[in-house]
């Protein structure tokens, strides 16, 4: 837990530094803008510049994450004293399966669209992670996308991307739209 606490705070600190660096950037159309010219409280007598808000808040974030790191190193917080693992074996398995499954789900959407990916994700999740009977998994995997199609594509006219499966939907559009 302590190592995780430290690593997380370090990641936040690095991200804060990046945000501070990025805040100081002038607009891209002005090549002469000097970095960090826009973070002052009264830039060109026009009040705080565009980088004022994000820069100083990122600095506060940086300072806080350094405090968290120090606390972790000195074992001052309950997390840094805890001997428990950050994620136990079961937790790690869960994280890889569910988190990885979710990312795969999005990748599938990018290739075969929402209506290709949804049944696959639902069936895989309910059948293999949930260990429910296959007929129940199949039922949910089919009912949910059909409901979504009529709700979004037909009723709300929000067309969810179909990507490769687009041709299959053309007859459906002709019937319902």
């Amino acid at each position: 837990m302590r190592v995780a606490e430290f690593v997380a705070a370090l990641a936040i600190a690095l991200f804060s530094v990046y945000l501070m660096w990025k805040s100081g950037e002038g607009p891209s159309w002005d090549p002469n803008a000097t970095r960090f010219a826009n973070i002052g409280i009264n830039v060109n007598n026009e009040g705080p510049g565009s980088g004022f808000w994000p820069f100083w808040l990122s600095l506060a974030m940086l300072v806080s994450s350094v405090v968290i790191m120090v606390n972790a190193a000195l074992r001052r917080t309950p997390q840094s004293r805890s001997e428990e693992r950050y994620l136990d074996a079961r937790g790690k398995r869960m994280f890889v399966l569910v988190g990885g499954g979710l990312l795969l789900f999005l990748a599938l959407i990018e290739t075969v669209g929402f209506y290709g990916a949804m049944p696959v994700f639902l069936f895989a999740y309910i059948r293999y992670l949930g260990r429910h009977p296959w007929w129940l998994a199949l039922l949910i995997a089919l009912v949910v996308p059909i409901f979504c199609f009529f709700f979004f594509d037909i009723a709300m006219r929000i067309v969810l991307p179909k990507r490769l499966l687009e041709p299959l939907f053309i007859p459906l559009y002709e019937i319902f739209l």
């Binding site: 837990m1 409280i41 974030m61 988190g99 639902l122 992670l129 949930g130 949910i140 709300m156 969810l160």
Partner: protein
């Protein structure tokens, strides 16, 4: 008497078939999400917000989608008690205190009594809070009309200061969470000069439109919290059985006589705690439980199934949820994560939250207030009628529920912005939120901050422009001054505690 007339018109509008139907649907959904362990009102409201655009399109009014979401909020406060009592695990954090006495009473075979008392106490709490709200809101809005930029910023500061001072979470982590939300709200372009800024990783496709509030909210509450619940709960939960019929309800109602004290304490205390930014229904319910126990003559029976110990937190969480609406509607500052989502919804529907709402959009405000009364009645009736049904639904395995919620989160995010970048971003936020949640980083401040950021930044910058860069403007103005000083004191509160502890340690 003008208020009474407006209220009656509002109730009448809320009773129109469409609104009544939406309130009913919202209450049922709210009861379910409230009762499901791992899901609370904020998850329900955040995940369903994208779907309210349809309601707005179909009804052509802005009050109807809000009535729907407010009914979910309301229903969830009732629903939390169902799983607290029958499962012994709170359905939502707002119902934590309900487990203290509700669970023992259920294990003694009196689950029906506990459920009925929870429902009736919730109803009384909600009604008292509605009356307080109706009385206070127009007045507060009138006062707030005189607020300028420095005053509004001072209020924002106060909202964040309460998180730091009273949040009870690790302070550096709370600050990280707040700052992260505020910085993320400024990604995209500068609202004042129009200049692009913070295009992270130099990607215009991903960040030039800024980071939408719902992307973070659904990521945190639809993905992050779900992963956390899957990780932290095991599947072996023992369910207390509850038989309910009309006779049992009436018999249980007689028990209400024994818990008027807890109900009243919960109703009033809950409302005032709910108003405080960052406090909301969870601390409201816990405080009501504590105070009721303190003043009760049956103090020793608390924790072993005392009815007052159920009535107090249940009336308080309902009352607090209405209280949290007060600053949201009148000042444009949400008092809880759920109201932050509601506030963002109002912005998306084209309203400007704040004191002008009462004068500019009375056709939004009063039907909504009317719907509080109507939803409250619907909630208590549906709750009492459907308890057996809800108990059956609670047996729905989490593995199916989680899969549905994941799909709903992804589809909802896409439907809201019609853009796959936002869906990926939502997923990254969700996974990041889970990893930080294990280390006890509070995530609600980040969600609140990304909502308040676009209000706080311009008010701060315009105030500083007005004062030529002097911070004294926040201290010298008559209304902003006291608010700023309160905020500073609240922020220093934990520091004082630290010094006192050090001092004591040195003396020992």
């Amino acid at each position: 008497m003008e208020v009474l007339q407006l209220l009656l018109d509002g109730v009448w509008a809320a009773l129109q078939p469409v609104n009544l139907g939406l309130a009913f649907l919202g209450v049922v959904i709210g009861l379910l999400v409230g009762a499901m362990p791992g899901l609370g009102s904020v998850n329900g409201v955040a995940i369903l917000l994208p779907f309210t655009f349809v309601i707005q399109q179909l009804t052509g009014t802005v009050s109807s989608p809000m009535i729907f979401l407010a009914a979910i909020y309301y229903g969830a406060m009732y629903g939390g008690a169902i799983s607290s009592i029958t499962l012994g695990i709170p359905g939502a954090s707002t119902a934590v205190a309900t487990t203290f006495d509700g669970r023992p009473l259920a294990l003694q075979g009196n689950a029906d009594r506990a459920l009925v008392i929870a429902a009736v106490a919730s109803f009384i709490g909600g009604t008292i809070a509605n009356l307080l709200f109706t009385g206070a809101a127009p007045l507060l809005a009138t006062v707030a009309l005189r607020f300028g930029n420095p005053e509004v910023f001072a209020l924002m500061l106060l909202a964040f200061a309460t998180f730091v001072g009273l949040g009870g979470d690790d302070i550096p982590k709370t600050i990280v969470s707040i700052c992260f939300g505020l910085v993320m709200s400024s990604v995209g372009f500068d609202i004042i000069s129009g200049a692009p800024r913070l295009l992270l990783f130099d990607s215009t496709e991903w960040f030039s439109r800024g980071i939408q509030f719902l992307v973070l909210a659904i990521g945190v509450y639809g993905i992050g919290e779900m992963l956390w619940t899957i990780n932290s709960t095991s599947n072996d939960i023992k369910m207390a059985s509850a038989k309910i019929n009309l006779r049992r309800v009436f018999r249980a109602l007689l028990w209400m006589r024994k818990c008027w004290k807890g109900t009243l304490i919960g109703s009033f205390l809950g409302f005032f705690v709910g108003i405080l930014p960052a406090a909301g229904a969870t601390p409201g319910a816990l405080m009501a439980y504590g105070v009721t126990k303190m003043v009760s003559s049956r103090r020793r029976h608390f924790g072993s199934g005392e009815v007052d110990g159920i009535a107090a937190p249940e009336s308080a969480n309902n009352s607090a949820s209405t209280g949290a609406m007060l600053p949201m509607m009148t000042l444009g500052i949400p008092g809880s994560p759920t109201t932050a989502v509601l506030l963002a919804g109002m912005v998306i529907w084209g309203l400007t939250p704040g004191p002008l709402l009462f004068t500019d959009s009375p056709d939004f405000v009063w039907p909504l207030i009317g719907s509080f009364y109507v939803s409250n009645v619907i909630a208590v009736l549906v709750n009492l009628a459907c308890i057996p049904l809800f108990i059956r639904v609670l047996r729905m395995p989490f593995t199916i529920l989680a899969a549905l919620i994941f799909v709903l989160s992804v589809v909802g995010t896409y439907a809201a912005y019609q853009n796959m970048y936002d869906v990926w971003l939502m997923m990254f936020f969700g996974i990041g939120a889970f990893l930080l949640r294990i280390l006890d980083y509070p995530l609600a401040p980040a969600v609140l901050a990304i909502v308040l950021g676009p209000i706080a930044e311009p008010t701060l910058r315009q105030s500083l422009l007005l004062s030529d860069g002097s911070w004294m403007i926040f201290i010298e103005r008559p209304i902003a001054g006291p608010i700023t000083i309160c905020a500073i004191v609240l922020m220093l509160l934990p520091l004082l505690g630290l010094i006192r502890r050090k001092f004591r340690a040195m003396r020992d």
